[in-house]
């Protein structure tokens, strides 16, 4: 059996911000009525977090739950535990009209840390990343350069970015370019 590896196998870059491909991350997409009990129970079973509000990401003991649309959540969990947690989620959903699928290998996750992280994000997304406008716990689906991507802010002030695995190389190149040493503008 071959070992699973992430899209860029943990590639890193140090510039005005630290860019790192997060490596293997468990991801479960959950669709359904977000206000219904079975869906809330499934979120708790996978992440230990409360269901996030509109445009938010909530963090729990075993993962995080990000709000993707009015009827869709992305649940983050440890990669190895994803199949077991998916089974738990499906048990929690029961016969409810909802869908949970393991999409861990379909997406790439990046971490952006450092003092200029807001600025690096601001160069790539059409989003206001000013302090006060974008704070920890906020999640936005948008576009990064020419690709669809979602960005959120962790409790420690770092950013997480996910995009489709097939465009991981492009996403990393964009982030590297935006974090080129000496390219700080000093907006935020």
């Amino acid at each position: 059996m071959s070992e699973p590896i992430s899209a860029l196998n943990g590639a890193r870059f140090d510039g005005i911000a630290r860019i790192a491909e997060a490596g293997l991350t468990g991801m479960i997409t959950l669709r359904g009525d977000l206000a219904s009990k079975p869906v809330k129970a499934a979120v708790a079973a996978v992440t230990g977090a409360k269901p996030p509000g509109q445009g938010q990401i909530s963090f729990g003991k075993t993962g995080a739950a990000g709000w993707m649309s009015p009827d869709e959540l992305m649940l983050f969990c440890p990669y190895a535990a994803a199949p077991a947690l998916l089974a738990k989620a499906e048990a929690a959903l029961g016969r409810a009209h909802a869908l949970a699928v393991d999409v861990s290998d379909a997406r790439a996750v990046f971490r952006v840390d450092g003092a200029a992280a807001r600025e690096v994000m601001g160069k790539l997304f059409p989003i206001d990343f000013a302090p006060g406008a974008f704070e920890p716990g906020r999640l936005r689906r948008s576009r990064m350069g020419q690709i669809a991507a979602a960005v959120w802010m962790e409790q420690d002030g770092g950013f997480g970015v996910i995009c489709f695995r097939s465009v991981a190389g492009y996403a990393f190149a964009l982030l590297k370019e935006a974090a080129t040493p000496g390219s700080a503008v000093g907006v935020y």
């Binding site: 509109q54 649309s69 009015p70 989003i127 936005r140 689906r141 948008s142 576009r143």
Partner: protein, 109 residues
């Protein structure tokens, strides 16, 4: 550039995050529609100078369709509202009337 408010995400985002979907509130007649009604459903479109109603999709966001009321001359957006409606809600009509008194668009005014 347009800045549209997605009624599902609750965010105001710029035009490149959205995909245009043509005219809103197109009505299909039937069953038993006449050839003229079916022709108009397929091909007859408004081309107004001023108030216009359009469908947009938050393609890079939640992926949902919604409606937008805007002015084709100034690109001013009067408001956006969910797609699950067959005519502009009263709040949107009032917002347009406040800025463009006497406006009309198809059968709406």
């Amino acid at each position: 550039m347009l800045i549209l408010h997605c009624p599902y995400c609750g965010v105001s985002a710029e035009e490149t995050e959205f995909a245009p979907g043509g005219e809103a509130h197109i009505k299909r007649f039937g069953p038993g529609a006449s050839d003229e009604e079916f022709r108009d459903y397929l091909f007859a479109r408004e081309n107004p100078k001023g108030v216009h109603f359009e469908r947009w999709r938050h393609a890079y966001g939640c992926g949902k369709w919604f409606h937008a009321a805007r002015c084709t001359v100034t690109l001013e957006v009067f408001g956006t509202y969910p797609a699950q409606t067959t005519e502009p809600p009263q709040a949107i009509r009032d917002a347009i009337s406040a800025k463009r008194p006497g406006w009309s668009w198809r059968e709406f005014e």
